[in-house]
Amino acid sequence: MRNIAIIAKREFKGYFATPLALVFIVIFLALTGAFAFYVGNFFGRGYADLSPFFAYHPWLFLLLVPAIGMRLWAEERKSGTIELLMTLPVSTLDAVLGKFFAAWAFCGLALALTFPMWITVNMLGDPDNGIIVTSYIGSFVMAGAFLSISACISSLTKNQVIAFIIAATVCFLFTMSGAQLVLNFFQGWAPDVLVDALRSMSFLTHFSAVTQGVIDMKDVVFFGSLIVMWLFLNIIAVEINKGR
């Protein structure tokens, strides 16, 4: 537990040692705003809620979260510091979780900095703040799922760009698998079980359920088990790849 916190602290500070943190937060805020106002027609809809804001989160995350996760392991392996880290008295689990929590906390920070949206919508009207809270939680948990994918893939390569591209692609597949476009492609020839499985793997399906204001056990379990699975794979990948 202690070691996880120590590693997370170092990692979290690391984001601020370079312009990465600032660039990321500015872009994240600009894009969430732009999507909500222009694409989502925030003002024109006549409703005081944040659903146009949250609706684009899966699409933003699938590009931005891999950008946060790509450095986690690829950089350590490239610079050789992984040898330093893994010969300190910390377990691989500590290291994997420490890094994951640091990056997740960073996502949380970026998300928290969108609070002016919340204030705005409360000034304009009378939104259901319960839905907004669950949506924020849902968005944060979804970011964690995207991040666990990105962290795991980051440990498969020494090249951050490759880590980013592959992670973004995998995130895209997880997001898209529920879209009708994709399902149509499988329907007709693939067994129904597969189509249902695909639909149930989709981040979109689960996230939109959460943004309706209901936190369903099913969705919690979905994201939770996904995170656990990818972090488990992350541990294995680090163990196998660290010496290469």
């Binding site: 120590i6 690391g14 040692a17 370079t18 040898e83 330093l84 300190l88 008295p89 660290k242 010496g243």
Partner: protein, 324 residues
């Protein structure tokens, strides 16, 4: 337990290549073991297995009686390790970095402050404490790496080429440091600088192609030199032929090698047949025969000649490229 490191049949394969091939070795407290061998011999790979970074393909490594694969965290607590190339987090400052290491090593309170201050003083990095590590010169980076390894005063110290890239003053400083710390520690250093072995090591292990070829004190190794206890003689060129003949007739002499002539002088290397000191015999002989000698000194033999001899073998086949 005096025996801090115990390797038995330690083996590492990378695909078809056997980088470390069944190494047996024990290192006790108070020993400074110099780990020598040509490039690619398997020194770093061995160290990586002892420090728990790489899993052995076979055999075992015990640190203070703890198998590093069974209880890696406990074993790693007892080790200070400077990896090859001294990797450090470049975006941190030495101060931040040492604080991080102190946290991970669970140092706290007064003990922690003392450890950090002492270490900074020992490796002389006080002047660069707040400069990002990536902007430090190579030598200073290495010092920060070294600081990280000794911060928690570990009973086992494993340093992979600790003086590589240091200036002569710092090399000396680090060697002194190692000697100071050696009394209650088991220290393993790998190096390509053979004077370093003579200067700091109580024991030298030579490996090539993953196998131990020699294990003994630096003096033991020197004894293997054909020039060990050889005598270097300088005489007037006019007497050269007579001197050569007389020396060859001496029973304790192995070979007489004429080295260089010129300036009216001629020099010989006279090797000892048994390896025992022969200088008195040679001096007496030259005096008896009335040859004027302008210089006479005993050679210890050079460790690098022994190293070459051991790792390449008399047939001069290169030990490198084991996978070729």
């Amino acid at each position: 337990m005096a025996e801090m490191i115990a390797l038995s049949r330690l083996t590492k394969r990378f695909g078809p290549l056997t980088a470390v091939d069944g190494i047996d070795m024990k290192v006790s407290r108070g020993e400074v073991l110099g780990f020598l061998g040509p490039n690619g011999a398997g020194k770093s790979t061995t160290m990586k297995m002892v420090t728990g970074f790489l899993a052995p393909t076979g055999g075992s490594a015990l640190v203070d009686g703890i198998d590093v694969t069974v209880d890696p965290v406990k074993a790693k607590q007892r080790i200070g390790y400077l990896p090859e190339g001294a990797p450090c987090y470049g975006d941190m400052t030495p101060r931040g970095f040492l604080n991080f290491i102190a946290d991970v090593r669970a140092l706290s309170g007064k003990e922690r402050d003392k450890a950090i201050d002492e270490t900074i003083e020992r490796v002389e990095i006080a002047g660069v404490l707040d400069q990002p590590i990536e902007t430090l010169s190579k030598g200073f980076k290495r010092r920060v790496g070294l600081a990280q390894a000794i911060l928690h005063n570990p009973p086992v110290l494993i340093l992979d080429e600790p003086t590589d890239g240091l200036d002569p003053n710092q090399k000396h400083q680090v060697r002194t440091l190692i000697q100071e710390m050696a009394a209650d520690k088991a220290v393993v250093i790998s190096t390509h600088i053979l004077e370093e072995v003579e200067a700091v090591c109580t024991r030298a292990v030579v490996i090539a192609r993953g196998k131990i070829l020699a294990d003994g004190t630096p003096e033991d190794l020197l004894k293997r030199s054909p020039l060990h206890n050889a005598v270097h003689v300088r005489v007037a060129a006019a007497a050269a032929a007579a001197v050569e003949g007389d020396l060859k007739a001496l029973s304790v002499v192995g070979a007489v090698i004429r080295e260089q002539a010129g300036n009216g002088y001629c020099e010989f290397s006279v090797t000892s047949k048994s390896g025992a000191p022969i200088a008195p015999d040679v001096a007496a002989l030259l005096k008896d025969k009335g040859h004027p000698v302008s210089d006479l000194k005993t050679e210890k033999g050079a460790l690098d000649a022994v190293f070459r001899e051991i790792t390449r073998g008399p047939d001069k086949k290169p030990a490198e490229a084991p996978h070729a």
